[in-house]
């Protein structure tokens, strides 16, 4: 028995094991550090035990020499050292755990099967403390940076605990709550309000043991010393650079930064120091999943740019076995998923499986812990072969995410993918009837019965594809749009870059410096020259998008230019419409010449003579954001304020600068600049949302009054200038969103298809988003996301075709009487009348059909059928519902 590394060593496993049921590859492996044979040349019990005779100790390490055109480094992150954790009792007290360990403790497939228990005595903790910034924002630990993810995962873990056990008391000890990403602040607030999480702004000084509890000492926000006892302490550990960062850097020939993360520049966030080597994910700097995914897609695009001539030269196409003929009699296999405890914890899976066995034409039933795991796919394939199954029903989560996976399994074994039906017994059953297990079980049985009834009537449908016009339309000529256009063109495709104003550049034109010292003006000149001179890019300025019609692969857009209108055809669309500084109606903005926005201050600071005369500045953070004006965090203002503060200190070291803030959100390596600003004497003072600073006119001058919590009294200042962090709003895009039929969120930012895994795609295929149109973000993230959008956009362009889901309509020409009702009703112009033997007949335009079925529902002769949703199939489901 050895400790289970996957479960953070909280459980035990054997030397030959696999990490978790869904592990890819799905085969077992032998841990060489723990194997008795490899270490002591004894044991070898596994060799005769393995019935497949799959264990071969004579295998040797092989050296492979690969010839590649580009390298992408994504080694992830390392762990904060135990020495740092030991300061908080980790290693001494068993109930002090890391957040990663706690993640396993909460997980249904973890060592305690999702039961939240203390490691020391297995009891349920009643009071839990989360300690933030462990190994982050702490130069004594060697990590001056902010790890950018801990605030979010702490809120998540606290929320999950509360969902399991609403009575548990949770305190989160933090310095600043840095929930800066899209929608993050709203989630944090919701979690705090619904689950009554206690947020305590303090760095805990010490963790001691007291009886069977852990005593924390800390200073509260008024500076008073406090102590409190907890059953369990979770250390929100930061992200360290990978342990092997230095050797990897040597091997790859790239530079690291001072913290041993990959060194990149703000304007080239994905480029390592060696040409042809790109970086993605936490190795580039601590970051969360969506940012990592964006960088990954962007670095793939970067590699595709330099290798465009070699595209397709070394690919191996996946071949599917030819489809087997299927017997007329349905032979249905039903697979019921536990989804850990997500389904199995509520629904009686055994009962559902037993019930499925009784249904007509069901010849095989099985249940599995996770039916999406790779070994479960093998079980399904084997069952299809062994039992000659010709229809498959999986009762698990939602077909909206998992149907393609199971359909692929069917294709792999030679079964048409339309012979599949999915039953949603998780998202729409166990999760929403968590407290009514019997009712949920009976609902699951009904749904399985209905699906089986439909499955009996399923029949194979042909795969169809439509060609793609290999050109892209990029809307918006700011840095995001220009970057996207440049990448698409470099990847080898023609691109139309459309900007509604007279100039390219957008907000970049107003930037004078960056926090990390780059020159935005130079970037603008370079990128503008690149897109204007590129043979594959056509730039349109002063141009509006009048209309967009079509679908992925075949869009036609009408542009209204200064010289008239023009129709362009393209296969994909990248939306980079950008955003701008919000305009405020408070803090005397627009009324007093002493009140500016941060961008306006930046303009002044670019003229050193003027800047030297500024002796006192008060900066008000979240002046527009996180409140009544804009509900969200604008993400970039804290960095901007620190940048301007440092710039002013450089020009006039004697200047007094006060930054009034709610939380300083200088995440990642920006934290170093925040620290530098404090060291140089910039004063940061926290204010509460309920008690914001007040700006008053004072003859020709101006007065700022605010509450200093530490002093416990009101402070009045008469600064030369007040700089407001006004926040970012998206540009007007309602019309465009309507034209493209893509959704906006409440704040009018474009809504991505999936916040974590599809951060640049949108609900409509072939349309991608990047930059401020997606959410407020600093320039390096806009550039990274723009390259990601270009990467995704080039997928259909380089394939040259897109596959059509076989849900489209088809017309039975014999039954069709040519009445034309379908043509008049179709919202997509996807069905029309043609002459067949002098008679009018309807015909589907497959590429345009969305499968909505309006035509089928209105056809008076029932001549139109929908793939996977025929009248007969739906009627069978209805009858199975009523068991009639």
């Amino acid at each position: 028995m050895i400790s289970d590394n996957y479960n953070e060593d909280l459980a035990i496993t054997r030397a030959p094991h696999k990490d978790y049921p869904q592990a890819v590859p799905a085969s077992f492996y032998i841990d060489p550090k723990k194997c008795l044979f490899l270490n002591y040349e004894t044991c070898q019990i596994c060799i005769p035990t393995c019935q497949a005779k799959a264990i071969d100790f004579s295998q040797k390490e092989e050296r492979l020499d690969l010839s590649v055109g580009a390298v992408i480094l994504a080694p992830g992150f390392g762990r904060i050292s135990d020495k740092v954790l030991a300061r908080y009792g980790y290693g001494h007290f068993p109930d002090v755990v890391t957040s990663l360990e706690f993640e396993r403790i909460m997980c249904a497939s973890g060592p305690s099967r999702g039961e939240i228990i203390r490691p020391s005595d297995g009891k349920h903790p009643q009071k839990i403390a989360f300690l933030q910034c462990i190994g982050s924002r702490d130069i004594t630990s060697g990590n001056g940076y902010c790890s950018s993810v801990c605030c979010m995962y702490a809120v998540k873990e606290a929320t999950v605990v509360k969902e399991h056990a609403p009575d548990v008391d949770i305190s989160i000890f933090y310095m600043d709550m840095r929930t800066a990403g899209k929608g993050f602040d709203a989630s944090r607030q919701r979690a705090r309000d619904t689950h009554h999480l206690r947020f305590i702004r303090s760095r805990v000084a010490e963790v001691r043991e007291r009886g069977d509890k852990l005593r924390l000492s800390y200073a509260d926000s008024e500076g008073n010393h406090r102590e409190d006892d907890f059953d369990m302490v979770v250390l929100s550990v930061g992200l360290e650079s990978p342990e092997d960062a230095q050797s990897l850097a040597r091997t790859a020939g790239i530079k690291l930064n001072q913290y041993d993360f990959c060194d990149t520049k703000a304007f080239l966030p994905l480029d390592a120091s060696r040409p042809g080597v790109y970086v993605a994910g936490a190795f580039q700097g601590p970051k969360d999943i969506p940012e990592s995914v964006m960088q990954a897609i962007g670095s793939a695009a970067a590699a595709a740019e330099i290798l465009r001539e070699a595209r397709g030269t070394e690919v191996i196409r996946k071949e599917y076995p030819s489809e087997m003929g299927i017997a007329k009699e349905p032979r249905i296999g039903v697979f019921v998923c536990h989804c850990g405890i997500n389904i199995g914890g509520v629904i009686d899976i055994t009962e559902v499986a037993k019930y499925a066995q009784t249904l007509k034409d069901v010849v095989f039933v099985d249940d599995s812990l996770y039916s999406c795991s790779q070994d479960s796919q093998k079980v399904i394939k084997d069952a299809i072969k062994e039992h000659n199954l010709n229809r498959v029903v999986v009762a698990a989560c939602t077909p909206r995410t998992h149907e393609p996976l199971f359909q692929e399994t069917l294709r792999d074994i030679g079964l048409n993918r339309c012979l599949f039906e999915m039953v949603n017994i998780r998202d729409q059953c166990s999760w929403v009837h968590a407290h009514e297990p019997e009712e949920a079980t009976s609902k699951a049985k009904d749904l399985v019965r209905m699906a089986v009834a439909k499955a009996r009537l399923l029949y194979p449908l042909p795969e169809q594809t439509v060609p793609v016009i290999p050109k892209a339309l990029v809307i918006g000529g700011g840095i995001a749009g220009m970057t996207a256009a440049s990448s698409i063109a470099e990847q080898g495709f023609e691109c139309f870059l459309v900007e509604n104003s007279a100039q390219l550049g957008g907000n970049l034109r107003r930037l004078k410096t960056t926090l990390t010292g780059e020159d935005p003006g130079q970037l603008l000149n370079e990128v503008e020259a690149r897109v204007r001179n590129h043979p594959r890019i056509r730039v349109y300025t002063n141009t509006q998008i009048e209309n967009v019609s079509g679908y992925i692969g075949n869009f036609a857009s009408t542009l209204s230019t200064e010289t008239g209108s023009e129709v362009i055809e393209h296969g994909v669309v990248v939306v980079a419409t950008g955003g701008r500084e919000h305009r405020l109606n408070k803090y005397l903005y627009g009324q007093s010449k002493h009140v500016l926005t941060q961008l306006e201050l930046e303009e002044i600071l670019s003229a050193p003579e003027k800047a030297k005369k500024i002796n006192e500045v008060v900066m008000i953070q979240c002046a527009g954001s996180r409140g009544d004006d804009l509900s969200y965090c604008s993400k970039l203002c804290c960095g901007q304020a620190v940048k301007n503060a440092l710039r002013l200190k450089e020009l006039n070291p004697a200047a007094s600068i006060y930054v009034l803030y709610r939380d300083v959100r200088t995440y990642g390596f920006m934290e170093d600049y925040y620290r530098e600003a404090r060291e140089k004497g910039v004063v940061f003072i926290k204010y509460e949302k309920e008690n914001p600073p007040v700006v008053m006119p004072n003859d020709d001058k101006i007065t700022v009054e605010f509450m200093d919590v530490l002093l416990g009294e009101k402070v009045k200042l008469e600064p030369d200038l007040v700089a407001l962090s006004v926040g970012i709003v998206p540009n007007e895009v309602e019309e465009l969103a309507k034209l493209l039929k893509i959704p906006l969120n409440q704040e009018n930012f474009f809504l991505e298809a999936h916040v974590k895994l599809r951060p640049v795609e949108m609900a409509v295929s072939g349309v991608y988003v990047c930059g401020l149109a997606h959410s407020p973000k600093p320039i390096d993230e806009s550039i990274g996301q723009a390259r990601a959008a270009a990467g995704k956009a080039c997928v259909p362009l380089s394939k040259g075709f897109v596959a059509v889901e076989p849900i489209v309509s088809s017309v039975g020409k014999d039954k069709c009487i040519g009445c034309g009702i379908c043509e008049s009703l179709c919202p997509y112009k996807a069905i029309h009348l043609i002459k067949v033997d002098k008679k009018k007949k309807a015909e589907t335009i497959t590429a345009s059909c969305k499968g909505c079925g309006i035509c089928a529902a209105h056809c008076p002769t029932l001549a139109i059928s929908m793939g996977g949703f025929t009248n007969e199939e739906i009627m069978a489901q209805i009858r199975a519902f009523g068991q009639c």
Partner: protein
């Protein structure tokens, strides 16, 4: 393979099989490149495969 001398390779090496490495590998393959995905541990998935759920939607991480 059999590529002409001096011509660019149509293959890309991706180091690391966490969410970033896997995503890069998938996209490169979709774009028409051969990918070598190298991961030092026994299975891909990295840190994300150890997460129970993800913020802010609390979707399953696996």
């Amino acid at each position: 393979m059999g590529r002409e001398h001096g011509a660019k390779s149509g293959a890309v090496l991706v180091v690391g099989g966490g969410v970033a490495g896997v995503q890069a590998a998938l996209d490169l393959a979709e774009m028409g490149f051969h990918v070598y995905l190298v991961e030092k541990s026994a299975s891909i998935g990295g840190a994300m495969a150890r997460l129970d759920k993800t913020f802010p939607t609390n979707d399953c991480a696996l």
